[in-house]
């Protein structure tokens, strides 16, 4: 592995983890599902900033649960989980996510792993943060082929939670549940509006002035590399080694 880059330079994973940590804000309990190293880094960074006042449950690793895998969902159903991260093979402009298949369900062209906990968590967790590193018309589509979890629900359906944001390798979108529509919140350094429009399969709102995503500070990079990297290495050794040059 190469040595970690100098402080001025940062990797996109570090930028994304920083954005996620800001979105977590002053939550009390954040959980991260399986195979989610960047959200795990973001949650652990938020815990560093909260000086331990944030409970982080990393399902592939440390958690405070003692009643099995179901305890996460029981907690979420009760409102004891404030933030969760979900991804999708496809995510559409209404924040519907697809973790199942491309094409018709009975005769799919491609099959993915399955919906995991999304069909429950997307409803009951107050702040669901959507994350998809690959930002292309293939992943961000006008309409998903299969709805694992809907972005919004009609009135009368129990829905205390839902998506609030979508983070990709190019930008950050905020999600307006009332209008069921994304708004471009900021462009990551080095990315342009034209590019994001061209690479996004759905329509979204654009403010008059689009800010640039704040890059991670020297202090944030220090926390990520010195504190978060070793914490994350147990669950995600390959990720930690390649991103943070952690062995």
């Amino acid at each position: 592995m190469n040595a970690a880059p100098p402080d001025e330079a940062f990797r996109v994973e570090e930028l994304l983890a920083d954005v996620m940590a800001r979105l977590i804000g002053d939550a009390r309990h954040v959980a991260v599902g399986m195979a989610s190293p960047i959200p795990a880094a973001g949650a652990l960074l938020a815990r560093q900033r909260a000086q331990g006042r944030l409970l982080v449950s990393v399902l592939q690793g440390q958690s405070a649960f003692t009643d099995g895998g179901r305890e996460l969902f029981d907690c979420a159903g009760q409102g004891r989980l404030d933030v969760f991260f979900l991804s999708g093979a496809q995510i559409d402009g209404q924040a519907n996510i697809n973790l199942v298949c491309i094409g018709d369900y009975q005769h799919p062209q491609t099959r993915f792993a399955g919906s995991f906990g999304s069909a429950h968590l997307a409803f009951v967790v107050p702040r669901v943060i959507l994350f998809r590193h690959e930002h292309t018309p293939r992943t961000l589509v006008e309409r998903v082929d299969f709805i694992s979890a809907p972005g919004t629900s009609p009135p009368g359906i129990y829905r205390p939670g839902g998506p609030v944001a979508l983070i990709t390798s190019r930008c950050l979108f905020a999600f307006d549940r009332q209008r069921s529509r994304f708004r471009l919140e900021s462009l990551h350094p080095g990315h342009a509006l034209d590019e994001v429009v061209a690479q996004t399969g759905f329509a979204f709102d654009v403010p008059d002035i689009v800010p640039t995503t704040i890059p991670p500070s020297v202090e944030t990079l220090r926390l990520l590399r010195e504190r978060v990297a070793p914490e994350i290495a147990e669950a995600y050794p390959q990720f930690s080694a390649s991103v943070f040059a952690q062995r």
Binding site: R70, G77, G114, V124, S148, Y158
Partner: protein, 273 residues
């Protein structure tokens, strides 16, 4: 009474063709040595239930042609990629899928555990999963006001099969923190458990161990010792997954011929004690 079996095949006698078999998620104590024994026996038409997800175990059973129906919230090899035989079988229409979501499988097992016919679960409404699950029912919450909610029928497996650290000679099984194994065992008609080792004494007489111990006389049909019995998956607190073997699997199982080669290499040489 629980049988303490000398061989895996003896312990697995109640796992018959066509039975509904519940297995735990990839990190919770998967009975891999027993799975290979079932594949060697040529078991078929399993209704496999992943609680609530599975990785190598489900992919092996599907690839070996043992599975008729698969109920799961997710099947993948995690960091090692998608589950290749699962994916191929779904695309070829070779297995019947009951696509679910993690808490639905947990809740349906909890209904069976309580002996009640169904369990309600929040969420789900508006997911395309519902259209694929005619066994799920949407009703109006009888205690609420115009509050639709989904009911899941109780899920009662014929057999729960898992791997745990310890059992004693009475058939009591110490599961540690993996409480989902307790729910699975309570819900199933019978449990078959492989363990790393037998414990001298009675686990139920140890106050620290007893709360994490499954009482054999009530739930456990058979126990067999299978040292490293979750390999190449890990057993929490005991050993980690074997990355080299899992990478090997992901590479070989990409083709039917490679999959057969994997079974030849790994499926036959690791017979348990």
């Amino acid at each position: 009474m629980t049988s303490i079996c000398a061989s895996l095949d003896e312990a697995l006698a109640v796992v018959t063709d066509g039975c509904t078999l519940a297995v735990p998620r990839e990190t919770a104590g998967v009975a891999m040595a027993a799975t290979h024994a079932l594949i060697r026996r040529g078991i078929k038409d399993l209704n496999l239930v992943a609680v609530p997800t599975s990785s190598l175990q489900a992919d092996l059973l599907v690839g070996a042609g043992c599975v008729a129906t698969l109920e799961a919230a997710g099947i993948s090899l995690g960091e090692y990629g998608s589950a290749p035989r699962f994916r191929a079988a779904v695309l070829a229409g070779e297995i019947h899928l009951k696509d679910s979501t993690c808490p639905a499988i947990h809740a349906a097992l909890q209904a069976a555990e309580k002996g009640v016919p169904f369990m309600p679960l929040r969420g789900l409404i508006g997911s395309d999963l519902i259209a694929q699950r005619p066994d799920w029912r949407r009703i109006d919450n009888p205690f609420g006001d115009a509050d639709p909610i989904v009911l899941l029928p109780a899920l009662r497996p014929d057999v729960a099969l898992f791997h745990a650290p310890l059992a004693d000679r009475f058939g009591n099984v110490w599961i540690g923190r993996e409480r989902d194994l307790m729910t699975m065992a309570h819900a199933a008609r019978a449990s078959i458990v492989t363990v790393e080792a037998l414990w001298d004494g009675n686990l139920l007489e140890d106050d620290l161990r007893a709360p994490a111990t499954l009482p054999g006389a009530l739930y456990v049909e058979a126990v067999a010792v299978a040292a490293q019995g979750a390999w190449p998956l890990g057993l929490p607190g005991h050993y980690r997954a074997d990355p080299a073997a899992l990478r090997d699997y992901a590479r070989l199982a990409a083709t039917p011929a490679g999959f057969a080669h994997y079974l030849d290499r790994y499926g036959h040489e690791r017979r348990a004690a």
